[in-house]
């Protein structure tokens, strides 16, 4: 029982990282832009958030936790939006190939984060922002003490709950508001949307930038909460970014599915550590290596089942990956 709880306590924070990445990408893809730069954007957001929190903590005499959260969030949002802007300008205005631009952005973002990260590390293998970490990881005061339920439900940092709220807001936005419907129209058929008087370029820009900002929060959450406020030169965020892209397809472009999908991913990801103790067996280390493939195999199986059902509403936006040029119809 206790290892089950420990498992959930690892899975939900893990899921939250890729949930942010995936929700950002859902918004972006709804406008018809396939942004494979999510890992890069998560690097930018994570690093900017960490760097700002780190300098704020170390350069001010009496750092205020709330202010450090605000500063880190703001910097992460700005940095990831700028990353999104590079992508948006190249693919929307200059109509560059979306896949290559996204991959280049991933390379670029990873380079920027790790390059400047070295200056903060300054020779050591990691550096930390303990104050910001404490603020980001603060549990809900009274409720988290309420026995097992309190531990499992209420003992996470505020970004975990914000992610769930955001998923619900996005669901409402995409399916219940005029702007959301317009956005979906742009992603399905930009020419028709254009004819209906929707400003395609503006929608694509806003969606891509907002999407990047949301994805960037995933990186921030990884560094300042999940990773205990520690920055080290890492390739881990890239792997998480790809998982986020995978989760988008897994959720069939629906924000509400991202909630349970992300937590399921988290459970499966940590399976290798908790399965042996749950079943009360010991497993040789080479078998542990094999168990690590379970989340990916399950994803493949779900993918196949979804494709077997062939439902219309489970399809990607029809014009995903294609640049829109008004005179070319």
């Amino acid at each position: 029982m206790s290892s089950l709880i420990a498992w959930i306590l690892r899975a939900i924070p893990f899921g939250t990282i890729i949930m942010y990445g995936a929700m950002g990408e859902i918004v972006t893809e709804k406008s018809g832009n396939l942004n494979l730069g999510v890992p890069g954007i998560m690097y930018l957001g994570g690093f900017a958030g960490f760097a700002s929190a780190y300098y704020y903590e170390n350069l001010t005499a009496n750092p205020n936790p709330v202010l450090s959260v605000v500063i880190a969030l703001l910097c992460a949002l700005i940095a990831s939006t700028l990353g999104g802007l590079i992508y948006a300008f190249l693919t929307i205005t200059l109509r560059a190939n979306q896949n290559v631009t996204g991959l280049a952005l991933t390379t670029f973002g990873m380079g920027v984060a790790n390059f400047f990260g070295v200056f903060i590390l300054n020779g050591s293998s990691y550096s930390a922002a303990p104050l910001a970490n404490k603020a980001f990881a603060a549990k809900i005061p009274v409720l988290s003490g309420l026995g097992t339920v309190g531990q499992v439900v209420f003992s996470y940092g505020f970004l975990v709950y914000a992610a769930i709220v955001l998923a619900i807001v996005l669901f409402w936005f995409l399916s219940r508001t005029r702007m959301g419907l317009n956005l979906r129209a742009v992603g399905e058929n930009p020419a028709t949307a254009d004819a209906a008087g929707i400003n395609v370029t503006r929608y694509k820009y806003v969606a891509t930038l907002c999407g990047a900002a949301i994805s960037g929060v995933g990186g921030l959450y990884y560094v300042l909460d999940y990773n205990q406020g520690i920055w080290a030169t890492t390739e881990q965020i890239e792997a998480l970014g790809w998982l986020a892209v995978a989760l988008v397809i897994f959720t069939t472009w629906k924000p509400l599915n991202a909630i349970w999908g992300a937590y399921l991913f988290g459970m499966l990801y940590w399976l290798y550590q908790f399965l042996p103790s749950l079943m009360g067996i010991s497993v040789p280390s080479y078998a542990t290596d094999l168990i690590q493939m379970v989340p990916y195999v399950v994803t493949i199986l779900v993918l196949i089942v979804v494709s077997l059902r062939r439902k219309k509403e489970n399809q990607p936006p029809a014009s995903l990956g294609i640049a829109y040029f008004r005179e070319e119809r």
Binding site: V100, A104, T107, F115, D289, M293, I304
Partner: protein, 368 residues
């Protein structure tokens, strides 16, 4: 439309599609783009590190060209990256999003390594190489075939499928290296004593075979895509599956066949890496090339000779950056930034090749 209404409603800048652009101008646009990117990178280097950018670029050049050994390393890396690019080209030309190059390379490398270890002492050298070749190509082909089969049958999303196959391959490699190394802390060099399954040194060069194989593949893939019936079918399926079906092309078969070829060449690349370069296998043997090669293939529009040029540019930057890193005690991630900026500029420059910006009041010429 009368002239008066035109000037009232026309925006200041307007974008029009170009019909075609002379070859010389195309080269010029790209050269300017790379030059601008280098200027931006120079500014970045100067403002961040305070170093003289020209000196830094000089050091960068040394990274590839300073000594014959470095040139041979650069050629080896170029061959490896280009090989994955060649493998991915037919898949992407067919609009099949094979982002599983990484896994296909890894599983090919693993098949090679297993053959080396378990058959290295029992087979004569020529047979061993044949076995390694067949095993790696078959393993890679299988990794390409699985997603292709599901895609052709039930239209299963191949982007996610191939991406997931990367992780499956990584797990298998981790598991097998774990078994092979036994109690040792790492796998180390395979067949160190016998050198069974190592590519021999040819013409005084360790990597001659790698380079020759990739060179042959470059020509072969160019011809395959451009002049063969298969290549034509790939192009038609890539443009429109419905058109292909209407023209009597068996889309399912083309898809599966192309992915088997794509996967097999990726597997072969794993063979080259294990037998000709590292003489060992690890989960990072593919080194992200499965993703970088997508950039290579797309930017070159699947022309294998352009792919060689772009691979060279990327390898040059990577080697140059690690040289900068050690010369100025910076870190190698500078390479990623510089590469990213150059790619952004090249991608952006395509706009000026495909479109032209028309100023208000300029006469309309695109009609003729």
């Amino acid at each position: 439309m009368t002239k008066a209404t035109q000037t009232v409603h026309e925006p200041l800048l307007r974008i029009a599609k170009r019909d075609g652009i002379p070859f010389g101008k195309k080269v010029l646009v790209r050269a300017v783009a790379i030059l601008l990117a280098l200027v931006v990178d120079a500014l970045f280097i100067f403002f961040v590190t305070g170093l003289n950018p020209l000196a830094v670029y000089g050091v960068m050049y040394q990274g590839t060209f300073a000594t014959p050994v470095r040139i041979s390393w650069a050629l080896r890396d170029l061959a490896t990256l280009l090989c994955v690019g060649i493998a991915l080209a037919p898949a992407f030309k067919m609009r099949f999003w094979n982002i599983g190059g990484e896994g296909q390379v890894l599983i090919g490398g693993l098949a090679t390594a297993l053959t080396m270890v378990y058959l290295g002492s029992s087979l004569p050298a020529p047979l061993l190489f044949v076995a390694m070749f067949v095993a790696s190509a078959a393993a890679g082909a299988l990794w390409g075939f699985i997603p292709a089969w599901f895609k052709s049958r039930w239209n299963t999303n191949e982007t996610l499928f191939t991406l997931m196959m990367n992780y499956v391959a990584t797990s298998i490699v981790a598991c097998m290296t774990n078994i092979m190394r036994g109690q040792a802390s790492s796998l180390g060099t395979l067949n160190k004593a016998t050198k069974a399954g190592w590519f021999p040194v040819l013409f005084g060069q360790r990597y001659t075979i790698n380079i020759i194989v990739v060179l042959v593949l470059t020509f072969a893939m160019y011809a395959y895509l451009k002049y063969s019936k298969h290549g034509y079918e790939i192009a038609v399926v890539g443009e429109s599956e419905n058109t292909a079906r209407y023209a009597g092309i068996n889309v399912r078969r083309v898809m599966i066949r192309t992915m088997i070829i794509s996967g097999a060449i990726c597997g072969l690349c794993g063979f080259l890496i294990v037998a000709g370069k590292d003489q060992t296998i690890s989960t990072t043997s593919a080194g992200g090339r499965g993703f970088t090669a997508i950039i290579v293939a797309w930017l070159a529009k699947f022309n294998t000779f352009y792919m060689a040029l772009i691979s060279f540019l990327l390898v040059f930057l990577e080697r140059g950056a690690s040289e900068i890193a050690s010369a100025y005690s910076l870190n190698e991630y500078a390479a990623d930034i510089i590469t990213g900026v150059i790619l952004f500029f090249i991608l952006g420059s395509e706009f000026f090749i495909n479109y032209r910006v028309v100023l208000r009041g300029e006469t309309h010429k695109e009609g003729k």
